[in-house]
């Protein structure tokens, strides 16, 4: 009997999404999660098997025209191993063995890269490169050999990069501190279509640098279930720790703010706090004010040094 081809591929694993199934699902009905559009407060019920999928997202197209599913198979193998670890260890608050730790890091590494946001960012970058190359070829009057090569490369670039980058990202994640943040009774974590978030508080007031794994204060967060979220960092934040309701809601605000198109909750209720741009924290507000004052001062200083000598053009 021919094996079913996995053409419908999840970019957020189904086994992972099943954690957010509404516990109040009526008997006999397929279990569902609550999915919300980015920025919207009204959600709809969907079965985890039907969301966050794309056809042939990880399918390699060979030169012969055949389709190769080895990336999808590798990812589902990894998801299976992660699901076991989550069920047998993380959910029971037990320490992970070295092998399990590696699997968790590999799962996080895959989650960082496998989403449509990552693919779209890569495509945008490649498209710009191709456009520049084509423009140069045109202006120099040479044939479009190079740009064609790049177009060919772009077809499988996202798929290939997942496989190529997975070992090195896993290796970078391995020495980081691992913390499982356990929500106290009363609040739950939410997730999204791009649940793995890289955040560096040092870079939040600028747009030039993006967060990277080797930065001192970077943190990789990933909600693993409504009760537990993973946080990897270079700080001494490690172990299983109880997270207060406010801290959980603050993390949810980050997840909702970072989502690409959708976020997912285990019930239909949303919190106003999730949609706030800034956290409601006195010290953070002070930081924002300080930053604004610094920026104004910097602009004024620049104007005093250079700007005041330049006459404005009359319009």
């Amino acid at each position: 009997m021919a094996k079913n081809k996995p053409t419908k591929q999840h970019y957020v694993p189904e086994c992972y999404l099943r954690g957010w199934v509404d516990p109040k699902t009526p008997a006999g009905q397929e279990p569902y999660v609550w999915i919300f559009n980015r920025g919207e407060k009204v959600g709809r019920k969907k079965a985890p098997s039907n969301i966050f999928t794309e056809t042939d997202l990880y399918t390699l197209r060979l030169k012969t025209g055949e389709k190769d599913y080895s990336i999808e198979e590798t990812l589902s193998n990894l998801e299976g191993r992660y699901a076991n670890i989550f069920r047998n260890k993380i959910q029971k608050h037990l320490p992970l063995s070295e092998e399990e730790h590696i699997t968790l890091c590999a799962f996080v590494a895959a989650m960082l890269q496998r989403t449509p946001r990552y693919r779209d960012n890569m495509d945008r970058f490649h498209n710009e490169l191709i456009e520049h190359t084509e423009a140069m070829e045109k202006s120099h009057g040479i044939d479009s050999k190079e740009s064609e090569k790049m177009k060919e490369f772009q077809k499988n670039s996202h798929r290939m990069s997942i496989v190529q980058m997975l070992p090195s990202i896993t290796e970078m994640l391995m020495p980081m501190s691992v913390a499982f943040l356990c929500a106290k009774r009363g609040s739950k974590f939410v997730t999204s279509d791009d649940p793995c978030n890289l955040f560096n508080p040092d870079l939040q007031f600028q747009k030039f640098h993006s967060p990277g794994l080797s930065q001192k204060n970077v943190q990789v967060t990933l909600p693993l279930s409504p009760e537990i979220a993973l946080c990897m960092s270079w700080s001494p934040l490690r172990g299983y720790a109880e997270w207060s309701n406010n801290e959980v809601e603050e993390m949810n605000r980050m997840v909702v703010g970072h989502c690409y198109k959708y976020f997912v909750s285990h019930n239909s209720k949303v919190r106003r706090h999730w949609f706030r741009r800034y956290p409601l924290d006195f010290f953070f507000i002070l930081k924002i004010i300080r930053h604004l004052v610094e920026m104004r001062w910097y602009k004024l200083k620049n104007w005093y040094q250079y700007g005041r000598h330049v006459k404005r053009k009359r319009t």
């Binding site: 608050h93 063995s97 730790h101 691992v178 001494p236 490690r238 172990g239 720790a241």
Partner: protein
């Protein structure tokens, strides 16, 4: 120049307060000198000249070697002295391990280890720390018994100085334990003014460990004062060092007024014996006390000061 002369030169440099120059010579001589008497002098000079932070492991080995030599030769007062030195040096190893142990469980609301590697590291470090603490306490006890038997006031004074420093180190360690995870801990880290004893007693009374803190302060004050008095009785210039060390430990415990009082005493003695190097150190310490500990080196991060203790 013969090894003996080189060693004498290094010891002279150490007495003058030029510890780095002395240490450079002693490191070279360490592999050359094998004769037990000279070796003992070399180890003694190394223990006072080499950095107790940078060369801690090496100094522990040297102290251990000196204990063996003195035990074989039956020189009980020297044996007691080296035992006390080793006990004091072990505190640094204990502190480093304790820092790592606490950082493994530092997360607020911590309930368990995330990885087996962390759990194993915690268990190994805890058992090593316990072993070292026991060894340090036993060494001090044995050293004091030996010193009391020999009735050598100078040796007893030096042992008491080491015991005082060990108590001070224990005081700091216990204080760190009290601070973890509490609001007071956060304030203590952020603000200098929260580190004064009045705040410590007020905010941390609920914690049982905090009640132990004054006991440690009393203990190191008693030991260092007794050491100073013993050295004064035998008319030894090291009495100045005893009071200086007491002032240093009191400064660390944010008891500045008392520290100034003992520093004054240390200066009077140093002036009496014309100990210029000591007077320079006392003047530096005066500045640190006047600045109310706002410039404390981060030893864990590798920072060091040459004139912290004598």
């Amino acid at each position: 120049m013969s090894n003996e002369n080189e060693l004498k030169k290094a010891m002279d440099l150490a007495i003058q307060g030029k510890r780095q120059e002395a240490a450079a010579i002693l490191v070279v001589l360490e592999s050359k000198i094998k004769e037990p008497n000279l070796r003992l002098r070399l180890i003694d000079a190394s223990l006072s000249s080499l950095s107790p932070v940078k060369n801690n492991a090496k100094l522990i080995d040297l102290a251990e070697e000196a204990i063996k030599i003195t035990t074989q030769a039956g020189i009980s007062n020297y044996q007691a002295h080296f035992m006390a030195r080793k006990a004091d040096l072990l505190r640094f190893q204990i502190t480093i391990r304790w820092h790592r142990v606490t950082s493994l469980t530092l997360t607020p609301g911590w309930i368990g280890f995330a990885t087996e590697a962390d759990k194993m590291e915690y268990e190994v470090l805890t058992s090593e720390t316990k072993k070292m603490e026991d060894e340090s306490d036993n060494l001090l006890e044995q050293a004091l018994t030996l010193a009391n038997k020999s009735e050598d006031k100078k040796t007893k004074a030096y042992i008491l100085m080491d015991r005082g420093q060990v108590s001070s180190s224990k005081y700091l360690q216990r204080k760190t334990d009290c601070l973890r995870g509490t609001l007071y801990g956060k304030l203590w880290v952020k603000s200098q003014s929260c580190r004064y004893p009045i705040f410590e007693n007020f905010f941390a009374l609920i914690n049982v460990t905090v009640r132990e803190l004054p006991v440690y302060v009393k203990s190191f004050k008693k030991d260092l004062l007794e050491a100073g008095k013993l050295l004064e009785q035998i008319d030894d210039s090291a009495a100045s060092s005893a009071y200086f060390n007491l002032a240093n430990e009191l400064k660390t415990a944010y008891r500045f007024r008392e520290a100034q009082k003992h520093l004054k005493k240390s200066r009077t003695i140093a002036l009496k014996y014309g100990d210029i190097a000591m007077i320079v150190k006392i003047d530096e310490m005066k500045k640190i006390i006047a600045a109310r500990n706002k410039d404390v080196p981060d030893y864990i991060d590798g920072e060091e000061r040459s004139n912290d203790t004598m």
